[in-house]
Amino acid sequence: MTAVLLILILPVLASAVLALVGSYRVGAWINVAASVATFGASCALFVSPRLTTLLLFIDDFNIYLVVLTAFVGMTTSIFSATYIRHEMETGRLTPRNLRFYHAMYQAFIFTLLFGLVSNNLGFMWVAIEGATLTTALMVSLYRTHAAIEAAWKYFILCGVGIALALFGTILMYLAAQPVMGSGLGAMAWDGILPRVAEFDPTILNLAFVFLLVGYGTKVGLAPLHSWLPDAHAEGPTPISAVLSGLLLNVALYAVLRFKILLAANGNAIAPGPLMITMGLTSLTLASFMLYRRRDIKRLFAYSSIEHMGIITFAFGMGGPLANFAGLLHMTMHSLTKSAIFFTVGHIAQVKGTQTIAGIRGLTVTHPRLGWGLVMGVVAIAGLPPFGIFASEFLVITTTIARQPLLAVPLVLALLVGFGALVLRLQGLAFGVPRGAPGGKVEASLVPLYTHLALVLMAGLYLPPPLVVWFQNVAKLLG
């Protein structure tokens, strides 16, 4: 239990301290140190005994997401330190901005971890709402027209989404209350699960629709995805990396918790088809939209929608194999997409622009960044030998085996998305360099190549303990 408390207390303390530290250099260091400590504490979860209370709990499912979240939080904080140094030098940010930014960064990590480990459905909601509040302010950090518009859109759309999710949570309590009695016990996930079969299925159905639409907004599922590209493109790049790599996962995690509840009640609607529809729609829509992007961060934001669509589709299919693929894809997408945003952040800094047309021939002018981008895009497009190939392959083969008709739109959308990414990559990475030659930037390439190495390793060889573990979680997901 102490490890659980530690991963919650560390970011809160760090956030409080960072709010007081005026120097941005010291702030960046504290940010990195706190993130490393949180990651260390999250690893301690494996050895510390798993206690379950009414408010907090650890099981096979959330432990893996906690570690992933703490890990990406750590690498992003390292990337962020070099990123903001450049932003300070070019005068895009002031020390006051950065004090706020660092405090919010840790507060954001806290809300994510709290959402993951909370056993109480109400607290899970509070945590995800908190994640919206903390990030909305960071998206508008640059105070440009576009950034304020993006933050406003993010706020309003996710605010409404989260409100619908709360209504769903209240309905869930309404369903639980006659069986579980009043009070906190009727909102504790692990207490509800064994008795969910006795709940009124009609209320559960209604609750799930609200929850899927509500949390689905935060996952970035179509048709409620329009906040996502704006928020990713206009905020500081480290925020784009954690939004894509972590926030979307945590929102999806909330949906999955409720999906498990619904699946355990035999008379409620099957949540699968709803998720398949939303996933496939998002995937198709996003892969066509990839073609018309002019802004490099927007391009990868749409690619995030595409991948969240694939993951939702996989979990909607259900069954041990598809769930396994979904979990693997969630992990791989987190690592790859944040790695891509690390590169894109530095690329935008050296080139001084985010428009795709202004960036050409990166492998010639900035070989280490350029090849990092090439590897990232190859990975995210689903080419072997990277891990995303393995998970996408699994998704496609299970779909062909179980629902051959669904495989047609799935494979088509994947190919369309693949084409768009390769097309854009050619221009970005190869060809004759164009525009300003671009200055040098002190990029920290450690986070980037660490992520890529992990994704590559997962594609070549998954350690057996990890496989067994994913299989257990896949069983839990039903």
Binding site: G122, V126, G159, L184, D200
Partner: protein, 220 residues
């Protein structure tokens, strides 16, 4: 619960919904803020009445939170922002009064048709107040869609949250944590909205959203 207590609870729930309709057609900014404050006061009375009739003292705390935050602090702050920014004029809406009323009435019908058949096993009071709460939520959404100004959108958002609290209060024995957290998050949200108003104002000299939207993130 006595029949009278039951009727009063319904009356109060209905009053909250009525204020949502008033928000839909109110055109003046200060009028909107006052109606929102009145709705919050009614909501607090709903919570207090529930606390009294159902012997659930924690609902008194929710009532107090609603009164302090939503009926006093937020309206006062919104008035302040209005005078600071000098917006006293009437606000445009995307829909005429008539059509927004019709849309509102159909949303109420929709939520009654949705909630009542689904919750036949629950207590009668819960069923009906849940239907009214969902109507309030949907009307809040409608208001956010039909108004073209940042302040009015925020008022719509907060009246939507009033609907959520109405639902939470109506459900037997809902733990207090939820209401408190709602109140808290509304407060945080409001502070942030306040900052936004100033930022937007600073940048655009207007709080009308179409003006904001002309700055597409991705210009060709």
């Amino acid at each position: 619960m006595s029949t009278l207590g039951y009727d009063i609870a319904h009356l109060l729930d209905g009053a909250v919904l009525l204020f949502s309709f008033m928000l839909l057609y109110q055109r003046r900014m200060s009028g909107l803020i006052s109606v929102f404050a009145l709705q919050s006061v009614t909501l607090a009375v709903v919570a207090a009445w529930g606390a009294y009739t159902r012997h659930a003292p924690h609902l008194y705390a929710s009532a107090a939170i609603v009164v302090v935050v939503k009926a006093v602090l937020i309206p006062v702050a919104l008035h302040k922002i209005m005078t600071r920014l000098g917006i006293h004029r009437t606000v445009d809406a995307a829909m005429s009064i008539g059509s927004s009323m019709i849309a509102g009435a159909s949303l109420v019908a929709l939520s009654i048709m949705l909630v009542l058949p689904v919750t036949f096993a629950s207590a009668a009071l819960t069923r009906e107040s849940l239907a009214l709460a969902l109507s309030t939520v949907l009307l809040g959404l409608l208001m956010m869609i039909t108004r073209r100004n940042a302040v009015t959108q925020v008022i719509g958002f907060m009246s939507l949250e009033n609907g959520l609290i109405l639902a939470a209060v109506g459900v037997e024995g809902m733990p207090l944590v939820v209401e408190m957290s709602i109140a808290f998050s509304v407060m945080v949200a409001f502070i942030i909205f306040g900052i936004f108003f100033f930022q937007i104002r600073e940048r655009f000299d207007s709080l009308d959203l179409p003006y904001l939207e002309s700055f597409r993130g991705e210009r060709r």
